[in-house]
Amino acid sequence: MNMIEEVVSAHLPVGETLRIQKNRIEGAEPKKRLAIVTGTHGDELDGQYVAWQLARVLKKRQPLLRGTVDIYPALNPLGISTIYRGLPGFDLDMNRIFPGSSEETMYEYIAGGIIEDIAGADLCIDIHASNIFLREIPQVRINEQSAETLLPLAKFLNLNFLWVHSAATVLESTLAYSLNSLGTPTLVVEMGVGMRITKSYGDQLITGILSVMSQLFMLEEPCPPVAPPIVSTDGNVAFVNANASGIFIPRVRHEERVEEGQLLGLIADPLSGGVREELHSPASGLIFTLREYPVVNEGSLIARILGGAL
């Protein structure tokens, strides 16, 4: 049975209600629950495709479904509808206000309602899609504090890369950290580029979600074959930032393997026709992040290279 349900809502100033909704897809007992969450940042749209396509895939498999899948396609509907990454009219990033509060602002109240609704799920998958500046390969990001619990399941998500990153206090206000703290295992997925949908990545993730559901005994069908991810910690990730402002002209492709010292791209100066900077790879490895948006300032992230034995 499919049902659209309200998670939490609040009145906007003029004749409209901000309503966070989910698509509840219920199968037979036993009642395990999987939460698929996306749309925290209004410019990240890959999750829109996954939410839509996963609902269709699960509808076809409903007789095989054991438990409940809640799909939350838009935690930040106002951002999505206005092509805005953040929360319109609010300074703080939505992924910095969890677990929310009923004593502060509307958005913190909404964040609190979302946490309350998801908490208790057997697994939550929080889908992000980079921003408009960077293209990412499909990857899972796990805080080192939760790695022991999350790594075994994350490996079934059919994504290319599993990044175990160090803890930072500021990250304690993310949805994933808050849910993990409450005992709801939550995996963060990053893939693609902002304001676009990369369908192949979405399909890859959906296969992974079905695989994880089989692992959780939520689907009565064999686990679809998935490729094992590369697992890495911060130590194997090299960053390339621009040291000059201008226009980035890439000389490599995303997902390409590069050698140490290889030219990754140029910072061009269209005014003079000159080159302000040549950017070279600091390590041999896989370009898992590559600058997509050409205008760069000094410091803009250009690429991340996954080094080591690949």
Binding site: A10, H11, L12, P13, V14, G15, L18, R85, G86, F90, D91, L92, R96, I97, S102, E103, E104, T105, M106, Y109, I110, N131, F133, T169, V170, L171, E172, S173, F239, N241, A244, S245, G246, D269, P270, L271, S272, R276, V295, N297, E298, G299, S300, L301
Partner: protein, 310 residues
């Protein structure tokens, strides 16, 4: 006074290099530093710092700064945003005041935070003229992060009406105030009534309060100043938050600093189509209006007032 270029914001070829100036007074000692505007709409903060520069030029010429006292004022580091009417970094909407202590090899706003912090580190006292993430009117006050190693009593020396202490939340841990304290500077955030408009009276109050602090600590001699107020210390957790249930037009009935009685109407939420009062916002108890939300229209479930009880 010596004016030094601390660093330059470089976004050529289409923006010209922007110098960020530090105004140094007195000796080479690192006694007290004042940071003005970091965000692009902090006009009041920039103006207050500029007035302080003007006063310190005069006081230094009159020989009123003691020999072993060194002062630094940075009126503005937000020019790149200010000149294009944006509160945050225009390219990616990131907030420099959520990037401290910064990182010299990181992204653009991390690098800027690092450069600002390099200039400000090592001072005994630090004052940040800053703005809140919610637009609103405050009673001018000093705010101290309750990190456990702060000196609350020194906050009384500004002679502003209130000293507010706040337990940091995760998103506070990347602000200048928090990191300045971590690096052992006794740090105060100074809030005036305004942010994106100039309020001459409160700018003068803020300037006087910094000079008063310097005088009470013996760094200035023979400077006649208004006496200031007997500062009341209040923990933020003891402020009474008053929130609305309905969205609509917000009509304030009582200004900031007013004393209100229990049950008194402080504001009305009015239907945007019929001007009917949808909700009367009443004082839950007797107190002084410390913060009033500045908004013409308002969503539901949001802070409208904060009250100091009693």
């Amino acid at each position: 006074m010596k004016r030094k270029t601390l660093f330059t914001i470089d976004a050529q070829p289409y923006r010209q290099p922007i110098p960020v100036y530090g105004y140094f007074f007195g000796s080479e000692e690192k006694t007290l530093a004042v940071m003005g505007a970091i965000r692009g709409d902090e006009f009041q903060q920039m103006y207050t710092a500029a007035k302080l520069v003007q006063e310190l030029i005069r006081l230094e010429a009159e020989g009123k700064i003691i020999d072993d006292c060194g002062l630094l004022v940075i009126p503005c580091a937000g020019q790149f945003s200010m000149n294009v009417s944006r509160r945050f970094w225009p390219l990616d909407n990131t907030d420099i005041n959520r990037m401290f202590p910064g990182y010299d090899k990181g992204e653009t706003t991390q690098r800027l935070a690092w450069r600002i912090f390099e200039a400000l580190k090592g001072y005994t006292y630090g004052i940040h003229l800053t703005s809140l993430y919610l637009p609103g009117d405050f009673i001018p006050h000093i705010r101290i992060m309750d990190t456990g190693w702060q000196e609350n009593a020194e906050g009384l020396d500004f002679g502003l009406p209130y000293l507010i202490t706040r337990k940091p939340r995760p998103y506070d841990t990347t602000t200048l105030n928090y990191n300045w304290q971590v690096w052992e500077t006794r740090t105060f955030s100074l809030y005036t009534k305004a942010t994106d408009f100039i309020d001459e009276k409160s700018a003068q109050e803020a300037t006087d309060s910094i000079l008063r602090f310097l005088t009470r600590h013996g760094f200035l001699k023979d400077v006649p100043l208004p006496e200031g107020e007997a500062t009341q210390a209040v923990s933020e957790k003891n402020l009474v938050t008053i929130r609305n249930i309905c969205g609509g037009i917000l009509l304030h009935c009582r200004p900031t600093s007013s004393q209100v009685q229990a049950g008194e109407i402080m504001a009305n939420i009015v239907d945007p189509y019929t001007a009917t009062v949808l909700e009367e916002i009443r004082a839950p108890q007797k107190g002084t209006i410390f913060f009033a939300r500045h908004a013409q229209i308002i969503s539901a479930q949001t802070i409208v007032f904060r009250l100091i009880p009693g």
